[in-house]
Symmetry: C2
Subunit: 220 residues, 2 copies
């Protein structure tokens, strides 16, 4: 029976949120070599003795490094080879996560995480530049036909906030009336029964996603 070869198996996560309305990614400063002291995507070794899967490993890494349980986490792509990690032949099963910025505030305030607009990210170590680019591309593409962008918002949001996050992520203005009709006809969101006062005008109705799963959304 052929012997299993030694391969370094890691997970890395593109952690996305909104900062002042713009799509931002979370970076952490690496404590250990390689690239000690350099900012990178959150990541770490898979721990076979405790992780049920690479998905579970990604959740554990986010919890350990950022104190976070993301509302949305999806496998992105698996990167591999000899040159991507100076420690040797490695595999990184890459994920991307979407979270409301409120969830990241403690880690940001503690200096454990820095949020940077995705188009202003510094040069990243390993192949994290490529992972980030592919994650942003996937996030933008999937946002045109699903409820994905809503996972960047707090659990309750106004329809204006929802439209703004769609426009920001897909980089395109949307017609207000069409957007609202599509969102409500779709049944992907539901009123919470609460309202929020945002200015002098009458309080805006608050909505929430109807479930944790992605739902289709047909943009015009």
């Amino acid at each position: 029976m052929e012997r299993a070869p030694e391969v370094i198996v890691t997970v890395d996560v593109g952690l996305f949120t909104l900062v002042e309305g713009a799509l931002a990614v979370g970076l952490i400063r690496r404590g250990a070599p390689p690239y000690a002291g350099v900012e990178a995507l959150p990541g770490g070794y898979v721990h076979p003795e405790e992780d049920g899967s690479t998905h579970a490993a990604a959740l554990r890494v986010l919890d350990a490094k950022v104190g976070l349980e993301p509302s949305y986490l999806e496998q992105l792509y698996t990167f591999s080879g000899l040159v991507r990690d100076p420690r040797g032949w490695s595999i990184s099963v890459a994920y991307y996560a979407l979270v409301p910025s409120e969830q990241l505030a403690p880690a940001v305030e503690a200096g454990e995480l820095r949020l940077v607009a995705v188009d202003e990210a510094p040069k990243l170590p390993f192949d994290h530049d490529e992972i980030l680019a592919i994650a942003v591309h996937r996030l933008r593409a999937k946002s045109t036909y699903s409820t994905l962008p809503a996972f960047l918002l707090a659990p309750s949001f106004t329809l204006s906030e929802l439209q703004e996050v769609y426009e920001q992520v897909i980089g395109q203005s949307l017609d207000r009336t069409t957007f609202r009709r599509q969102m409500l006809d779709l049944g992907a969101i539901e009123p919470t029964g609460q309202r929020r006062r945002t200015g002098a005008s009458r309080p805006a109705e608050l909505y929430r996603l109807r479930g944790p799963e992605l739902r289709p959304f047909g943009l015009p």
Copy 2:
């Protein structure tokens, strides 16, 4: 510095072709335990000393087990955990490949590969049932908006053959005139300058893909 844990790293490939017009998958009988003698998707260990990446590993496995260089190979998803492989905690980076059946004839005749319609596949070992189901789903979904199905055909094909493979893979009848106009307007295929006699009628013009990359195709 944290030590890299031991994880079994493999690749598995959903190898698709057409058999009598129907979408079929290639199975090989395993020679070594676990599941010796049982039919499975082609797969094997990643060999860090010779494979440049998991993609290269998938190509090597196809070449070694089926004598094949596929015209289309794409990463599907990475499967992982303790229970999917009796040898221990494992990762399988799964791929799917599309090839014309002519390329598989030698392996089939030599008894090294069996082609079975995807909806008649036997129970497969490991999590290969799940890998196959997800691969078929991806293949069908991507066929609705790209030139992917053409990779199931020989390098030269008639427009009728191309329409048939689209209809078979996506499970939907297509309007002949619209299909032809879309295909030709798209610029994804080009005439070879050759014709082929298929029956009593006048010889049909032969076409080929304009490049190895996938191109968009907007079905109505």
